[in-house]
């Protein structure tokens, strides 16, 4: 019964994610005060920003895993890297989607090229999708090595893309988090934090689930090979 440990840990994280997500949905839609300026559409902020930050956390995890793989050459770091980037791309795509919905409601258009964050996320999605092209065209140990190198390159270009887009365009995106703190009332901030923690828990749950699935797949493959080898001719 060696799989009880990871299974239980995933169940715990899953339960935590479900509870926090429910709390975040209830809090964001029913408890948090309505924005005087934007009305109900501002409530997308609780999810849009939380998803965006989670995607960056996923890419940061992949970057650290990439560096660790290059130093230690352990397969588990490659697995953490590929799963994190997969989840990061998913969260980035959701960021672009929710941002686009917010843009339509606030500015009347689905896409705004002068919004640096939305454009940066579109670049980031392109950048990290190409990671999977690289992976699919290289095999074996080289696949893990090149993936690790590219996760470092891609992570370095995220802030550069953001800065380049930001200075090139007039800044119309609502700035919620400034250097002097969060630009919103505490009742809003509480529900944002709940939503953010829920998203991070969701990321951890999905990461653990995917890693477990990969290990089970690998074990199953090895078992099949052993069975075929032991079969009488």
């Amino acid at each position: 019964m060696t799989e009880t440990g990871p299974g239980r840990s995933i169940a715990l994280w899953g339960t935590l994610t479900a509870v926090l997500s429910t709390a975040a949905i209830v809090g964001a839609f029913l408890v948090a005060p309505e924005d005087a300026d934007q009305g109900i559409i501002q409530r997308i902020f609780y999810f849009h920003v939380a998803i965006a930050i989670t995607s960056m956390v996923a890419f940061a995890v992949a970057f650290v895993a990439g560096v660790l793989y290059l130093r230690k050459r352990e397969r588990r770091f490659d697995e953490i890297g590929v799963v994190s980037i997969g989840l990061g791309v998913l969260f980035s795509a959701l960021t672009v989607l929710t941002g686009s919905i917010w843009a339509k409601a606030s500015w009347g258009i689905w896409w705004q090229w002068s919004d640096p964050r939305l454009v940066t996320y579109a670049i980031v999605v392109l950048l990290y999708v190409s990671y999977f092209m690289l992976r699919s065209s290289v095999d074996g140990e080289r696949q893990a090595r090149y993936s690790a190198i590219f996760s470092v390159v891609a992570f370095a270009s995220v802030p550069l893309s953001f800065y380049a887009v930001r200075v090139a365009q007039s800044f119309i995106h609502p700035v919620v988090f400034t250097q002097s703190g969060a630009n919103m009332p505490n009742t809003m901030l509480v529900w944002f934090v709940v939503s953010q923690v829920a998203m991070l828990c969701l990321f951890i749950t999905l990461l653990k689930l995917e890693l477990l699935q990969r290990r089970v797949d690998q074990a199953l493959g090895e078992l099949k090979l052993r069975l075929e080898a032991s079969r009488p001719v």
């Binding site: 092209m133 690289l134 065209s137 190198i149 390159v153 891609a154 380049a164």
Partner: protein, 228 residues
């Protein structure tokens, strides 16, 4: 002259001599750049009266696409004639291989820019000033550092992959977008009637920061490309 500088000189001369004999990469890059510029003109140039505001964008989108082509092409002899195997067996630091490759890509880019920049100003800019060329030359040099360093790192990985010709643009272009944004911005700031020097300087500084960051990334990771 130290051993490293002798090795660097030999590697760079090897690339340049090969190019002078075959004349494949630089000429193909120049022709491609001219055709790409014309494609931009036919795509949207006819729809505006003054193309000056578009000139920076046309120049740098063209140069970025040309750079992808040139960087990929520069690795072809290495692959087809197994030059890389010989280089990897030689007692030369891997990072020196990267620096030499980046230097030869830098030279190819300069050759393309010497022809492309005047053509863009003739085709797309109304009343270009002589000082514009000097200012754009600085942008070219600053952008070339980042393009050649990152391109050499990514092309070294792409050369060992199955979909190499297709993979390099897919990997390289998204990472090159900040360079396109900043170079086009800097060119736009100084082309035409008004010169916005603070904006120009900011973009050039950004290009140098980009080059330094990717030089550090390449320095830290290039060894691992050839680990096998």
């Amino acid at each position: 002259m130290t051993a490293a500088s002798r090795q660097f000189r030999a590697l760079l001369l090897k690339d340049l001599r090969l190019e002078l004999r075959t004349r494949q990469t630089a000429i193909a890059m120049v022709l491609f750049a001219v055709v790409a510029m014309m494609a931009f003109q036919f795509g949207f140039g006819f729809r505006v009266d003054d193309t000056t505001p578009l000139a920076g964008g046309i120049l740098w989108a063209t140069l970025a696409l040309t750079a992808v082509l040139g960087v990929g092409r520069s690795f072809v002899p290495e692959r087809e004639q197994r030059v890389l195997d010989g280089l990897l067996l030689a007692p030369v630091s891997r990072n020196l291989l990267l620096v030499a490759r980046a230097a030869s890509v830098f030279v190819y880019l300069v050759v393309v820019e010497v022809i492309t920049v005047p053509l863009v100003t003739v085709f797309f800019v109304q009343d270009p000033a002589a000082t514009d060329f000097a200012l754009i030359a600085v942008v070219c040099v600053a952008a070339n550092f980042g393009i050649s360093i990152l391109g050499s790192l990514l092309a070294a990985m792409a050369v060992f992959s199955r979909a190499r010709e297709l993979l390099l643009p897919v990997l390289f272009l998204p990472a090159l977008l900040p360079v396109i944004i900043a170079s086009a911005g800097a060119t736009h700031a100084v082309l035409g009637v008004s010169n916005d020097m603070p904006e120009y300087q900011g973009y050039v500084l950004f290009l140098l920061v980009y080059a330094v960051i990717f030089a550090l990334v390449a320095y830290a990771t290039y060894d691992h490309v050839f680990d096998d």
